[in-house]
Amino acid sequence: MSSSAGLVDGFPILREESPSSVDELADAIKRAAASAEPMSARGGGTKMHLGNTLRSAPVVIHTGGLSAVVEYEPDNLTVSALAGTRLDELQHVLRGRRQFLPLDPPAAAVATLGGIVACNTSGPLRFRYGTIKDMLLGVKILHADGTRTKAGGKLVKNVTGYDMCRLYAGSLGTLGILTELTFKVHPLPESSATLLAAYRSLDAVLEAKQGCLSAGLLPDAIEGWNSSAFASLGPAATSMPWILIVRFGEVRPAVSWQVARLREIVARGGGEVLQLLEDESSERLWQIAASLRETAEGMETALIKCCVLHKSIHEAAHRMESLAERLGAQLSVYCHAGACILYGRYVWQDTRPEPPELRGELEELRKYCVSAGGHAVIERASPAVKDGIDVWGYDAPALEIMRRIKREFDPKGLLNPGRFVGGI
């Protein structure tokens, strides 16, 4: 899952730094800045493939040495941790007080908090709890010249100055290197359950989603996966092409009530209930499920994230499928049906598409998403495929504001240069 040693996204690196304190990290940044060397921060290394191809060999700065829960205040529902802390470690500490950070990005055992914030990664739980931006209360960050700043704090309400947390979250390490993060945490629900149901079409899955919402259910997650995606999850077999996966977390009577309502919705919509998983078995399922979209083995793989509106989910999925047929790939579709986000993961086992052809096809798919009022990001593809394109596919006029932000915060363009939108 992590990139090969000595390479970032297939590109050679200049050297590596592994600071074990914030002071050392600041020194490492200053050293690189003094000789105008580009820098890429690396946490767990699970997202080193994300972004445009590199322009020059960077100094890779590992943040894994900055790992600790700094301050946990269960009766304030806040926790502060160093950026190199792995998500799993944090969850372990929180679970001791029956709390959790309601975020389930891929590879929680490896991914660090800094990486998750920088990449704004999320998972199925976002339907109920939002993304990391909704949980991030405070940051400490080192800027391109090594100066330190902080923003926010450990307060759930805070309008003291501009919301810098929102600026840094999702900025892919292009504005600074995060050192410490404070999050709002949640109580663990008393009980949880997951219902799996098979359907003949994605449309029927989407109808079930709308059915859940109009019935007033409050699911934690509503997912629609195709059978290929579901096969690797493997708790139950089906010959039907689409699977609805709904997760609930509440006090026990409220979970039972919702499961009963969902069973009715499934029956009405022509679905077939495959399985109901409760508590620990439900938790285990999601631990596996969260990482699947990122765990592809093959001669060639690609992952595209399409964000659209409800009415275009069907067409986006259809176009994903035709692309797979044309290029002879196996396609897994992981759709956050609630948030209207589709991840399409393509795997080629024995053959390999020509990079320009795959590039062209992905760009066509993206064009559709844009024409439907959405957008699409090529999250994973080999450097040969990404060569010469902006994987973010964002060229709205606001890009000019983003460029100005980059110039203000990193005037020499040393932090992860070229990898973000529009080559920022």
Binding site: E73, D134, R148, L155, Y162, A339, F420
Partner: protein, 497 residues
């Protein structure tokens, strides 16, 4: 950063903006706007929508924070995005400071035209353009009143979650400029958690779309940065906001405590106990007395030191167990009678009392200073005690209104500015309250914003480097600071002084 005493000196410079003796000067300035500028501004939305007569512009001299006043040179009541664009461009061309304004209910001077110039009024732009239930979104103009949006989505079972107490009058544009909160943001988050995309007229006069209607717009989160920028990053002319599903069931509990400490400890225990109420509000004895003496009386007990409103919402099947648990915790902290609202009418009465509490406080004294501070929830009881001590030492009566679940405190200082020295003592006490909260890990504002009220105190929480990072952002959006000048940052960090 060290900040000694001598607050009087610093606040004196803030008080220069009050227009008791200065009003006359303002009016002269207004008439000094060059006639060609006036002509240009009149042509934008028609002469009837350009106010220059001092009798009319005086209304715009302050917002809900009446300590600072400055009459604008002109007020343009925009009716469309095009009006806003032309107004901003005219202001830029003539180097005229300009300030966007919604309903003017802000409580930190966000809509104060601190250096005169042009107010761009947005309250006429009040069209709800689209309710998109399939995607749980609404597209609105900035002048739409907060509650009107919720009302228009109500029959479909949705609402706009941010619910500042001003929601009957405040606008969505103002809410997003200030990143407004409200009692229910304890569970549902602030305004920033509910904005998806914006159309913005930048301080340069360009129009841009920030964010996107679909999730996870690539690039820096410009929507997240714009929300809460207090009108210094431009004028939002259209907002795509998220709608929240109305809860299946709501349970509202009212109880009271013999001491503030008991009440605060109960709050901490509820939070530690794993229940997230939709709202967790508190009022002190003096505040309750004012509410109960007003037309919005809600039957709150008058003999307790603190009254608490706990609202639970969610699935019917979940609420009974939660209400029982809350009851247990409150009893463990010596609560008095615990009343559960029997029906929607009783619930509405309780909330009416709460939401009009600040108005009711107006009966208690000639002038009010409403402070907005926030502390970690596990520090509530110790901080609250110190707030009362500060008020006692200053000899100023204090009434309190807390979004306790968020650690967001609104101590209200009751005074009479006609009495010699009282205003200075109030400002000094308000400043000491900030210091106490910051020392406890809190900050300067939870929901009202910094504006012109607290900009000189930013050094209490931020270093010069921290502020420099924020200034970089200002330099991107508002490089010549014509857009709402003199806000958020201490004046030494501003071009307009």
């Amino acid at each position: 950063m060290a900040r000694g005493g001598n607050v009087a000196e610093r606040t004196r410079s803030r008080l220069l903006f009050r227009d008791n003796p200065a009003a006359a000067t303002d009016m002269t300035e207004a008439q000094n706007l060059k006639s060609e500028v006036l002509e240009e501004l009149r042509a934008i939305a028609g002469p009837e929508n350009l106010l220059v007569d001092p009798e009319q512009t005086l209304t715009y001299a302050c917002d809900g924070f009446a300590f600072h006043r400055h009459t604008p040179d002109a007020v343009l009541l925009a009716g469309s995005r095009d009006h806003v664009v032309r107004a901003v461009r005219a202001a830029v061309r003539h180097r005229l400071p300009f300030v966007p304004r919604g309903a003017g209910t802000g409580l930190s001077g966000g809509a104060l035209p601190r250096f005169g110039g042009l107010i761009i009024g947005l309250s006429r732009m009040k069209a709800i353009l689209e309710i998109d239930l399939e995607n749980r979104l609404a597209v609105v103009e900035p002048g739409v009143i907060n509650l009107d949006l919720s009302k228009s989505a109500e029959t479909s079972g949705y609402h706009f979650a941010p619910d500042p107490s001003s929601q009957m009058v405040s606008t969505i544009g103002g809410n997003l400029a200030e990143n407004a909160g409200g009692p229910h943001c304890f569970k549902y988050g602030m305004t920033t958690n509910h904005v998806q995309a914006l159309e913005v007229v930048l301080p340069s006069g360009e129009v841009v779309e920030l964010g996107s209607r679909a999730a996870d717009c690539p690039g820096y989160d410009l929507v997240g940065v714009f929300v809460g920028s207090e009108g210094t990053f431009g004028v939002a002319t259209r907002a795509t906001v998220k709608l929240a599903r109305n809860p299946q069931a709501v349970k509202t509990l009212l109880t009271s405590f013999p001491t503030m400490k008991d009440a605060c400890d109960a709050v901490s225990s509820i939070i530690a106990g794993g229940i997230i109420p939709a709202a967790l509000e508190m009022m002190d004895r003096r505040m309750v007395a004012a509410v109960e003496a007003s037309v919005n009386r809600a039957g709150m007990p008058l003999d307790a030191e603190a009254v608490m409103i706990v609202e639970l919402d969610g699935l019917t099947a979940a609420l009974d167990a939660q209400a029982e648990e809350i009851g247990k915790i409150c009893r463990a902290h010596n609560c008095g009678e615990l009343r559960v609202a029997r029906d929607e009418e009783e619930r509405a009465t309780i909330w009416k009392g709460r939401k009009h509490a600040f108005g009711a406080a107006g009966r208690m004294s000639r002038d009010l200073y409403l402070q907005d501070v926030v502390v970690p929830r596990n520090r509530l009881s110790e901080v609250v005690v110190r707030l009362y001590e500060i008020a006692d030492r200053a000899g100023i009566p204090l009434a309190s209104l807390f979004h306790a679940g968020d650690g967001n405190l609104h101590p209200i200082l009751l005074f009479d500015r006609s009495r010699e020295g009282e205003e200075q003592r109030v400002l000094q006490a308000a400043y000491e309250m900030l210091r106490v909260c910051v020392e406890a890990g809190g900050t300067l504002s939870g929901e009202h914003g910094i504006g012109s009220e607290k900009n000189e105190f930013m050094g209490l929480v931020y270093s010069d480097e921290d502020l420099a990072a924020m200034k970089r952002l200002r330099a991107v959006f508002n490089p010549d600071e014509l857009c709402n000048p003199g806000k958020i940052f201490p004046v030494r960090h501003c071009l307009y002084k």
